[in-house]
Amino acid sequence: MRSNRVLGALALITLTGTFALGLGLPATEEQQTYARFVAIHPPLAWTAYLAFGVTAAASALYLWPRTRRARWDAVAEASAELGVLFTALTLVTGSLWGRPTWGVWWTWDARLTTTALMLVIYLGYLAQRGVVDAGPARAKRSAVVALLSVVVVPVNHMAVEWWRTLHQGRSFVSLDPGGQLDGDFVAAMFLGLVAMTLTYAWLLVLRTQVAEATGRSDAAALEEALAARRREAVST
């Protein structure tokens, strides 16, 4: 696909730019050099949530009879897998940022906790896809799972936020750069956002193609096996 090559090239360029910009960011008083994470951690998080949303949207499209196509199931699978990747990276970079800055590998604020929950939800979604062979039954089941699961993300975020703030006198650490950052940092984060989104989009196209091709080859293999059985039955 020609346009995907262009997308890939753009992704690579912006990603390289992000790294260059990010690693070149100056040290700040608060965060020393650790604020360099701002170029990759928030963008990874944003993309993870985007991937989750795409999985849910593709699932809805699949379930709606008028738009039901195997391609949407393939997109849902691809986006979920990418979601696992980006969510895991979000958590890892978040941890690596938090440890030197706040002294902790983990903190139970709403964002991190919801992100961790989302990772487990994605893994569950992929797990239930893994136990059955491809086909409309799996596609329908997966779509229902995706939609049942997506709603808990905002509910949980709200719940954890209330939990961690309704407690009087409890100040909690958060991996928010704190809004004290100036233009350079904002620019790096914005470029990172664009770069990660482009990367995700490029990989989504590729991974969807893999899912569709796998589905086709599975279906063909099944047809072949059935035909072979029929030939056997006729000849005996």
């Binding site: 939800i121 239930q128 136990v131 329908k140 089941r141 229902v144 049942l148 808990v152 509910v155 719940a159």
Partner: protein, 222 residues
């Protein structure tokens, strides 16, 4: 739809009355969980009493997984699930009926476990009205989400490991809300439970609606 729900609920509860799975297996399991918590945490330092709401609701959530697994398993025996569909029962009614039966069993379980934490952890059950309200709302949410997920993965071979993996993250807000509501009650500030009761109610409404929609989708032959 409600008539179908009542039929299905009555059927499931009748099966329970004859097979005693909840009373003879799930309830002892739940009490066992409470006991194991006492082994894991020091019973002499007041930790158990302070943690009692959380431990209680953790035990309930694990028991809910067992309860909904059982609820779906009864449909697999002798192709009973197909029989329900052939009988022309509305999928929404089947869902509500099964969820209601699970909720009823869980509520009975919760009464038992409440006695359990009062006895085993020395917890004083203050503000029973708030405790009860939280329990009802939380149970509806657990039963609805549980029944929906159990129906989705119930037919799969790996359902025993898949169901907890799928369901537990989703009911995390219920665990959070119910525990905080019970904490507020037991700490003598039941007014603080209000936002949590709202959360529990919202979750319950949400997953009853989603369960109805999901059952409809799953039952349609396409």
């Amino acid at each position: 739809m409600l008539h179908d729900a009542a039929l299905v609920a009555a059927k499931d509860l009748r099966i329970e009355r004859r097979s005693h799975v909840t009373t003879h297996q799930v309830a002892p399991f739940a009490v066992l969980v409470l006991v194991l918590f006492a082994f894991a945490l020091d019973p002499d330092r007041g930790v158990l009493d302070r943690a009692a709401p959380g431990l209680f609701w953790t035990a309930v959530v694990f028991s809910a997984v067992l309860a909904v697994q059982r609820s779906v398993a009864v449909e697999s025996a002798d192709r009973a699930g197909d029989a329900l569909r052939l009988a022309g029962l509305e999928p929404a009614g089947v869902f509500l009926g099964k969820a209601a039966a699970v909720a009823a069993q869980l509520l009975v379980l919760e009464v038992l476990l409440a006695a359990g934490i009062a006895v085993l952890y020395g917890t004083t059950l203050r503000s029973p009205f708030v405790l009860f309200a939280a329990a009802i709302l939380a149970t509806i949410g657990l039963a609805a989400a549980g029944t929906a997920y159990a129906a989705v993965v119930g037919g799969l071979g790996a359902r025993d490991t898949l169901l907890p993996l799928l369901l537990l993250p989703v009911v995390a807000p219920v665990l959070l809300g119910a525990t905080r509501a019970w904490e507020a009650s037991l700490d003598g500030v039941p007014g603080e439970a209000l936002p949590w009761l709202e959360l529990l109610a919202a979750f319950a409404v949400l997953y009853v609606a989603l369960g109805i929609a999901g059952y409809g989708v799953l039952q349609e032959e396409s």
